[in-house]
Symmetry: C2
């Protein structure tokens, strides 16, 4: 089965657990709306590619870890969009969860997704129980405090967030969790995959800053120029447009170079190359060169 | 070490992980404010008492499981108090987390506490790794969807929540998780402890309904009469005041009867008796008898 299908199937199985005749129906619908239809599923694809590169001897556990990473990403988007936070009415080109279901159910859907992520990994670990503790710990560090997504978003409430720590926690940490969890699910060495996640996470954040600075709202499906309005660290503000593009290219190159020799190396390079094309659209590179 | 001290120590160790020089300081402070000073720590005391009753051969894991239950309880209070939910400015007699730190940091503190709960259990399982998966699953079912705390709170957004399922999910599920996690941490049979958690959870909710219906705001440190205002299921509305008191007494008796024969049986009975006294203050019983 192709990795995109594996991810959608694992996500569907996870989301189905939260529904059924005894579940509060609006919460179940809000959870489904948070996860489907998805975006590019960048993080779970990366996680699964690393799991395959490490041998993929526990595909069920690798699928669950990848799905957990995506559920946590979805949870962070739902909470980030809430009126008390970014107050975004649109996500992925359609109404955000609170816009459809109201803030209380969006809050609870995010909470339930965080819980569900850990639950499905635990459930999938029966054939490799010794891999569970490091998997849970790795995934938790990607999303909690002091250095995961929650910390990254919390830096936005500080007067002078350190740019490196802010960017790392807000975006990088979940990419690092994705690559390391993929390795752990297959019994690989997670530290061998730290740099790949770290560089891609940084690249993703720089690309997001570029989009925020130069795109129109129609192209990104979300409000633009928000960083300047909200006074958040932004690579374009720090490095200028062409400096940020050069930084992005160098990060992608470092990510490529960090991939260790392994059976699935070719697939993984191809995935990173495709991601790089997605991250740095031709028009952006051209406008930076102009 | 006395069980109250063990719980406070485990909670302090957990909360300390979210701070440090690289953590966003306001988030770290908001997390601390969410957990300290605590309330009666009813659920972790219950969890630890069951762990001891089952032999207590892994005290570190039992402490972590008990602390995880309390962190999740604290997270649910922080999110429940948010302006988009119950909009409560006061909790445990002092300003609620969002009243001090603002809604965004309260939201993130709750998220980080949920993550932290699973992280500390995984971290404490190194000497008994086979106990981890059922522990994570049991704790997750107590707080997520379709039947944990998130589901319980979500029933409040439905037009006619089924009273039994609502009460069970909102309060009972975490008590069930507390007793079962205590058993699992010590290698005991979790199902032997299901009824104790279930009955105590029900008793706790009925007691809360009684307090909501008859107390003054000064006594409970939180707004009263909210259930009637918000149209939520309430045992006093269903059974009348004396009916609800009789129900509470019968639930405590059923909880007592459910305790299996075990080494720590006496301690556990004493704990349940003390909880029962706390739950059903004399004045309430008198006013029901009048």
């Amino acid at each position: 089965m192709e990795s995109g299908e594996r991810i959608e199937r694992a996500l569907a199985q996870a989301v189905n657990r939260t529904g059924g005749e005894h579940a509060p129906p609006k919460l179940a619908a809000a959870i489904r709306h948070s996860v489907f239809p998805g975006g590019a599923r960048v993080r779970p694809r990366l996680s699964l590619a690393v799991a395959e590169a490490c041998g993929g001897d526990q595909p069920g556990l690798a699928d669950a870890a990848a799905a957990a990473i995506e559920l946590l990403h979805c949870a962070s988007l739902v909470h980030d969009d809430l009126p008390c936070f970014d107050d975004a009415e649109i996500r992925r080109g359609r109404p955000s969860v609170h816009a459809v279901f109201g803030a209380p159910l969006a809050l609870l859907a995010g909470d339930a997704l965080i819980v569900l992520a850990f639950e499905i990994v635990a459930d999938a670990a029966h054939e490799a129980p010794l891999r569970l503790a490091p998997l849970i710990g790795t995934i938790a560090r990607g999303v909690g405090a002091p250095a995961g997504i929650a910390a990254g978003q919390a830096w936005e409430s500080e007067p002078n967030p350190p740019p490196e720590q802010y960017r790392c926690a807000k975006t990088g940490a979940l990419f690092v969790a994705a690559t390391m969890a993929g390795a752990l699910a297959s019994g690989g060495d997670p530290m061998a995959w730290h740099a790949l996640g770290y560089r891609l996470g940084e690249a993703y954040q720089v690309a997001d800053d570029l989009l925020d600075a130069v795109s129109s709202a129609t192209e990104t499906d979300k409000p633009v120029g928000r960083d300047a309005v909200l006074g958040r660290p932004n690579a374009v503000a720090e490095l200028g447009l062409s400096g940020a593009v050069r930084r992005l290219e160098s990060l992608i190159a470092m990510a490529m170079d960090s991939i260790p020799a392994c059976p699935g190396e070719q697939n993984l390079r191809e995935l990173v190359r495709l991601q790089a094309l997605r991250l740095a659209p031709k028009r952006l590179l051209e406008s930076a060169a102009a």
